[in-house]
């Protein structure tokens, strides 16, 4: 293979595209060309650096808190009070950093930013400047959390309390009146950070909605879009409708804590349960911000690696929208024991069950897509299968919690912890890492080591299930969550859960190591290593600065028969029929409906 062989095998529009290996990474040089770039791909990569760093922090907190729980009694520190405080700070920081800095932005801001314009065959998002702004707003919000962390570390070492407090010990939920009147931690910096991060999230949402409305290329109707775009679209709706409510809530909390304005603290004439309504009005939909784009990733992966057209396209697309809308009506299920009226409980329980249906629709359509396929178990597909496992368990255990009588027992126990980790870590993280592996060749033009990646995926799967399955059993026996210590009855549950967490930590290190190794000396990736038919694969790997030299021809995104496999070096290329159809102008197959 000569040095100037184009990695893009799609010879009709791509010829002459990057004869000198020109791409978005080497398009311009110098730190400023990154800082002020308007290129969605570079913004996606910068998001990646920041979000992965946040993930590393959140993961470190998780390791520390699991270590505190590996044995009964104080573990990390000899003094009881100090050990409990350390644990409380760890679980709060873990939750807040993971939710606000990792899970919410991960798929939309990294994968979405990079892939969405390309799947639209566009040069960029609708508002590139807004996109760059969202990155900086994110960085500003993250800086607040770094301040929180720093204030905690400084206080632990020197006893000095920075303005605002030290660390964070309220849980990521900031429940009042503990957060507004009792906690001595940096509640205002932390909620201020979450407030700012909300705007980053809103800006991304606005941008994606505008892009999908205005940038779809000729021939791509709403129901010709890849399902990843449907997932992002549904997510964006939630981001722009729900996030402002969180912003207002946090502002009120700050007003109460800083100025003593009585809103939530009964000592000041406020109502603490009101805070919970406000908070969950955002935070329940937020769990769909976390999972809907992940579901989009899975739709792409399952179809591609089964080499089957996605089954039940319209149902999957509509179910995303249904989940997004129903998600706004179920927040009260977090408050079944809070003292809200029995009638309210009944209503929220009923609506909550309705979310089960679109979720079931998705799972069955994914599984049916595999029927009669030619399934390739490459790493993204391992994550895809892992996702279905995780999401099935996470979703089905949600039924226990939606059932009123059972939830009264399970509420605020480890059963809930296990349930939402299966959805938010098991499912979302698997989709994210699976998606990263899937699009990695496109982003960087390099292939990672497949064996190492597959090994890490399997190890992560084992570690995850060991960590969290046992927590269902502990929870149903009554183990309360957010406990720095526990009765002897739960010793072995916690021990094994911690071992599982270490295995997870190890496998994530391997995942990262494998990516770095691929960046340094990975094999050159072909334009289309997996034979997928969405538009991003019709650009080079890595793509040129403006993605496509000529607008690519839109076809059914899941018409995989258009591609045939040549070799690992060349990847998948268009079949002669597909090329002829493009030449003849009859390429659009319209098989979708």
């Amino acid at each position: 293979m000569s040095a100037i062989t184009t990695p893009n095998q799609f010879d009709v529009p791509a010829k002459g595209n990057e004869p000198h290996g020109h791409n978005y990474l080497n398009h311009s040089k110098g730190i400023l060309s990154w800082m002020f770039t308007l290129d969605h791909k570079r913004i996606g990569l910068m998001y990646m650096a920041l979000v992965l760093f946040a993930f590393f922090l959140g993961g470190t907190f998780a390791m520390l808190l699991r270590t505190e729980l590996i044995a009964e009694g104080p573990t990390l520190l000899a003094d009881k009070t100090q050990a409990w405080n350390l644990y409380n700070h760890m679980f709060s920081l873990h939750g807040a950093v993971m939710v606000f800095l990792f899970i919410i932005p991960a798929v939309p801001a990294i994968l979405g930013n990079f892939i969405l314009p390309m799947q639209l065959g566009a040069k960029d998002v609708a508002f590139p400047r807004l996109n760059l702004l969202s990155l900086y707003v994110y960085a500003a919000g993250a800086a607040f959390f770094l301040y929180v962390l720093l204030s905690g570390v400084i206080n632990a070492w020197t006893g000095y309390t920075m303005p605002g407090g030290f660390g964070l010990d309220t849980g990521w939920t900031f429940y009042t009146p503990y957060s507004s009147s009792k906690s001595m931690s940096s509640v205002i910096p932390a909620t201020g950070g979450a407030f700012i991060l909300g705007f980053s999230s809103i800006l991304t949402g606005v941008n994606f909605i505008a892009s999908i409305h205005t940038l779809r290329p000729k021939g791509m109707g709403w129901f010709d879009m890849p399902l990843f775009l449907w997932g992002l679209y549904a997510t964006s709706i939630i981001q722009i409708l729900a996030t402002p409510v969180l912003a207002i809530t946090l502002m009120l909390l700050i007003a109460e804590r800083a100025m003593g304005i009585g809103i939530f603290d009964p000592a000041l004439g406020g109502d603490p349960v009101l805070y919970q309504h406000f908070f969950w009005f955002y935070s329940h939909p937020a769990v769909y911000i976390m999972i809907l784009p992940a579901m989009g990733v899975i739709s792409e992966i399952i179809s591609t690696f089964s080499r089957r057209h996605i089954f039940g396209y319209t149902f999957i697309a509509y179910s995303s929208i249904a989940i997004a809308l129903l998600g706004f009506l179920v927040w009260g299920h977090h408050m079944f024991t809070s003292g809200q009226s029995a009638l309210t409980n009944v209503a929220f329980s009923l609506i909550t069950f309705s979310v089960a249906i679109p979720s079931a629709i998705k799972v069955f359509n994914w599984v049916t897509t595999m029927y009669k396929g030619s399934i390739r178990l490459e790493t993204p597909m391992l994550y895809g299968i892992g996702f279905i496992w995780m999401f099935s368990i996470g979703g089905l255990t949600g039924i226990f919690l939606a059932a009123l009588s059972v939830d009264i027992h399970m509420h605020d126990t480890y059963f809930v912890v296990a349930h939402f980790h299966y959805v938010m870590v098991g499912s979302m993280l698997f989709a994210f890492i699976g998606g990263m592996n899937y699009w990695f060749p496109k982003m960087f033009g390099k292939m990672y080591n497949e064996r190492v990646a597959a090994f890490a995926a399997i190890l992560l799967f084992i570690g995850f299930n060991l960590t969290f399955f046992i927590q269902f059993v502990a929870g149903s026996h009554g183990m309360p969550r957010r406990y720095a210590n526990y009765p002897v009855q739960f010793v072995s549950h916690h021990y094994w859960s911690t071992i599982g967490a270490y295995i997870m930590g190890l496998s994530l290190v391997i995942v990262l190591f494998n990516w770095v190794a691929a960046l340094l000396n990975g094999k050159k990736a072909p334009a289309n290593p997996w034979g997928s038919n969405t538009l991003e694969w019709q650009s080079a790997s890595p793509p040129p600065h403006d993605n496509f030299p000529t607008t690519p021809v839109v076809t059914d995104p899941y018409d995989l028969d258009r591609w045939r496999y040549v070799s690992d070096d060349e990847g998948w290329v268009l079949t002669d029929e597909a090329k002829a159809a493009i030449a003849a102008g009859t390429a659009r197959t319209g098989q979708l409906h």
Partner: protein, 360 residues
Amino acid sequence: MLNAILAQSKGATFWMPEQASTVAAEVDWMFYAILYICYFFFFLILVMMLGFVLKYRHRSGAVDHPAPAGHSLALEMLWTIPPTIIVLFIAWRGIRGFMDMAVIPPNAYEIQVTGQMWNWSFTYPNGTTVSELHIPKDVPVRLVMNSTDVIHSLFVPEFRSKKDVVPGRFSKMWFQATEARGEYDAAQKKWVNGFPIYCTEYCGTSHSEMLSQVIVHPTREMFDDWLADASVWTDKMTPQARGAQLYGMYCTSCHSVDGSSNTGPTWKDLFGADRAFTDGSQSKADEDYIRESIYYPQKKIVAGYPAGQMNSFLGQINETDVGAIIWYMKSLSDKFDQSNLPTKPPALEEGVVDEGAPKP
């Protein structure tokens, strides 16, 4: 048939703790019904998914199947309608079970509960307050609960009962125990082996230590005997012993008595010591100062400790009991001449009640 499968033994099962209240059987029935439904769907998905992987796995060299678009309204209905029906059934039965927990029988015996960082106290109709919940078996009990600081939540796993305890409002829950539990350990001078009570709403540093237990007396008569006995302490213990009891009830989560560190200052050698405050002033820890610290804790903040952590106990601990706490602090202090401590319960001091002290 279904009921026979789902009715669980009353003892602990793999998934659930022992059943000890009237609502527990229904919760477990529901839990296991959902569990079997989940097993069914999970294995269905798994068998299909792994079956397809095995059957349709691509072998190198093999030609791929063509991949036409597929959808089938019939199939979509198949996995929409039956799950909807199942879910509606679960919802209905869950609501029914919940209503049994929510509707409090009118004849229930009322106990007031106070949640506070980080302990529980239970007040009986005659005004007696204790730190563990004693109830009679087979009698519906209503808890009227309030918090003096942040939100807590009272949870008894064996009763399958839980309710948040919110400051500024009274929340109510009820249960009826079906199993007697717990006995008095004379050697340790305390009740043991009750059903555990957990706080399940995060409430700060010692949230995980906000524990107590439910002692279920086998009969109403035995419960009444216990209550009568618990209501009077003056004939059974010295004031400093009463003080130690109150300490165990309200203060142990923040104050140590052996000099070790905690949220608040230790009480060891506190009485009679010189205290320095955050505003720079000083004072001796005498009776007045301690009483003030209990009733108006925000007036003077000990240097090196945060303000706003300790709540006022005004209205919760009466003057006699404050006196007892002060005696207890004196007994912990090397600055107080220990030979001056009372040696008898106050009621016996003047010989009002004859010796042969009843059990504590």
